[in-house]
């Protein structure tokens, strides 16, 4: 107790003051844009013209109502949802087994595989998008629905993340569990399904959310692949809206709808986000 007290007395000095000031200013820098966004989304039309008031004259939720009534928006939202879910499914089905093998099998040369998995992330999206789009517009693959093309592209983007996150999850499961199952005469596949997967469930779920967010936010590939398409994902829908009708409160409302699920999920899987962000930093 005494210790705490002396600490507090000593704490009023230059560095602590600096620290407090920077904490508050960084928090403001982070929060103000969000408040502004929200403010615009509940503004009535009269509050959009300069001088723009700090708080709308007659705040209402009419923009959201209009959005939910708009067929285009609902279509785009569902399209985004569909693509994100399919991406999650596809990338987990292909990525989780790879992660499992990388985590369990210490064979020489496996680092080469890891290198190639990493390499794809160093291509700038804007560069790698062109070959992918050209590939999908060749006569055979052009017949695929746009939805599938986008899902395939998003899977490509998210696979490295799935593999690295799931590898972390599988690394945390002791090998002894599988060896024990093997000794109890279980087959490898049975062990994978009944022992490994149930234990890895939460970690894999987090990876799934991460992929969902990645696909939900993805713009460049969706934009290039859906350049001429009428049904688009939410980010592309939003982008097209900027180009055509910058009705700010409507734009803000779409933005909020796009961001809210992301913010919620981000808080749920904070730990994994941190893992994903710092992943590769030691390489």
């Amino acid at each position: 107790m005494k210790n705490l007290f002396t600490k507090n007395v000593r704490s009023i000095n230059g560095t602590n003051f600096l620290w407090l000031v920077s904490l508050v200013s960084v928090l403001l820098i982070i929060i103000i844009p969000l408040i502004v966004l929200f403010k615009f989304s509940i503004s009535d039309n009269s509050s959009l013209f300069p001088p723009v008031p700090l708080w709308p004259h007659n705040p209402d939720f009419s923009q959201y109502k209009e959005l939910l009534g708009s067929k285009d928006f609902i279509m785009a939202a569902f399209y985004s949802l569909e693509i994100a879910l399919l991406t999650v499914l596809l990338s987990l089905i292909t990525g989780a087994p790879v992660a499992y093998v990388l985590s369990r099998l210490k064979i020489p040369g496996i680092s080469i595989i890891i290198f190639f998995i990493l390499a794809i992330r160093f291509f700038p999206g804007i560069c790698s998008v062109i070959p992918v789009v050209e590939f999908f517009s060749n006569p055979i693959f052009n017949l695929l629905p746009v939805l599938i093309k986008v899902v395939l592209a998003h899977t490509l983007l998210s696979l490295p993340y799935v593999i690295f996150m799931c590898q972390g999850v599988f690394d945390a499961i002791p090998v002894e569990l599988e060896e024990q199952a093997l000794i109890l005469k279980a087959r490898r596949f049975y062990t994978f399904i009944h022992v490994v997967i149930p234990i890895a469930r939460t970690g894999i779920a987090a990876a799934a959310i991460y992929v969902f967010l990645l696909s939900w936010n993805e713009f460049i590939f969706s934009y290039f692949l859906m350049f001429q398409s009428t049904t688009v994902t939410l980010p592309v829908y939003l982008f097209k809206k900027i180009v055509w009708t910058p009705q700010l409160n409507y734009l803000a409302a779409i933005s909020v709808c796009l961001s809210v699920p992301v913010i919620l999920f981000t808080f749920i899987i904070q730990k994994q986000i941190i893992m994903g962000a710092t992943e590769g930093s030691s390489k």
Binding site: P174, E176, L182, I183, L184, K185, A186, P198, I199
Partner: protein, 385 residues
Amino acid sequence: MPEVKLENLVKVYKEIDKDTGKIRHNAVIDNLDMDINDGEFITLVGESGCGKSTVLRLIAGLDEPTSGNIYIDGKLSNSLSPKDRDIGMVFQSYALFPHMTVEANIGFGLKIKRVPDKEKKEKISRILSGLRLENEAVKMPSMISGGQRQRVAVGRAMATEPDILLMDEPLSNLDARLRSDMRTEFKHLHKDQQNTIIYVTHDQVEAMTLGDRMAIMNKGIIEQFGTSDEIYFHPANIFVAGFIGEPRMNFISGEIINEKGVVYFSSANLKLGLSDLPEKKLAQLNDFNKKKVIMGVRPQDIYLYDHRKVSLFRQNRFKMKIDVILPLGPRKIIVSRLDSPDEVDMNFHVELDNDIICREDELVEFGMDLNYVHFFDFEDKKAIV
């Protein structure tokens, strides 16, 4: 017919050297032979990294030997999958499936064996009551105590009634009290079931108390394989002698000298007449005349000379200054310093009853019973029998 027979077993791991980046071959097990009889309780003991767990993993089939043969029940089983061997295993970490209840854990092997439901239930409840786990049946492994988890792991290994039960340091995660309880329990279990048990531990007390026979391993080879009495009283070499016994056996290096027909052991610290030894041993030591040997004597076999009532030969006595005294309740350990620099261990331990009076820094006279003194060849460190 031996139940498990290991023949010239070698296991080499490839490692990448951190300094040079080259692949290095590390022989964890180096030409190991072992015969284990049906129904025997065998303990494997050694320091960490000596390859004892690897032996277990090879018998279990979790690893494949680099060369050599493993026979289980007379059948060559080098590359047989674990699921085709009739074994059970208890891991050091218990390896309980965290997502299954205690009941489901124990029943896992039965479920895979497709044992009918009714029979399975009966068996599980029999095991649960045998291990005093009835109240824990539907709990998750994370909700029960360490000792209970340990029992669940044993129960799960026993549920399929394997012929061979492998245990990899099963008690090392428990506290001292529980450990001694479980030791007794393992002994009971083996008496009831009469299956072959191979038990790996780093704790010499566990190894000695549990095993019908024990094997002492060092750097991939078996230094000695025998009953605990054989190993304690007739250690085959310096390693075994130093490994078993607490405090460690004292080693003093010196020479055998034959002065006018009387054989002496002479070192910088003491000179010991050996004419008291049995004829046969004396003759053998005589061969080492003028050669370097190492004498080993357990701290328990040394006494303060004044307190021994039986009269002894003069030559068995030697003087030493007491450095420190470590009291241990009923006993106490006296530590003296040997002054010659080429000793294995500079500290010389003597264990005495606590009621014997002596003080630190006092010069006292010790005596020892030559029947319990061991001699080792200085060159190959083997015992001179």
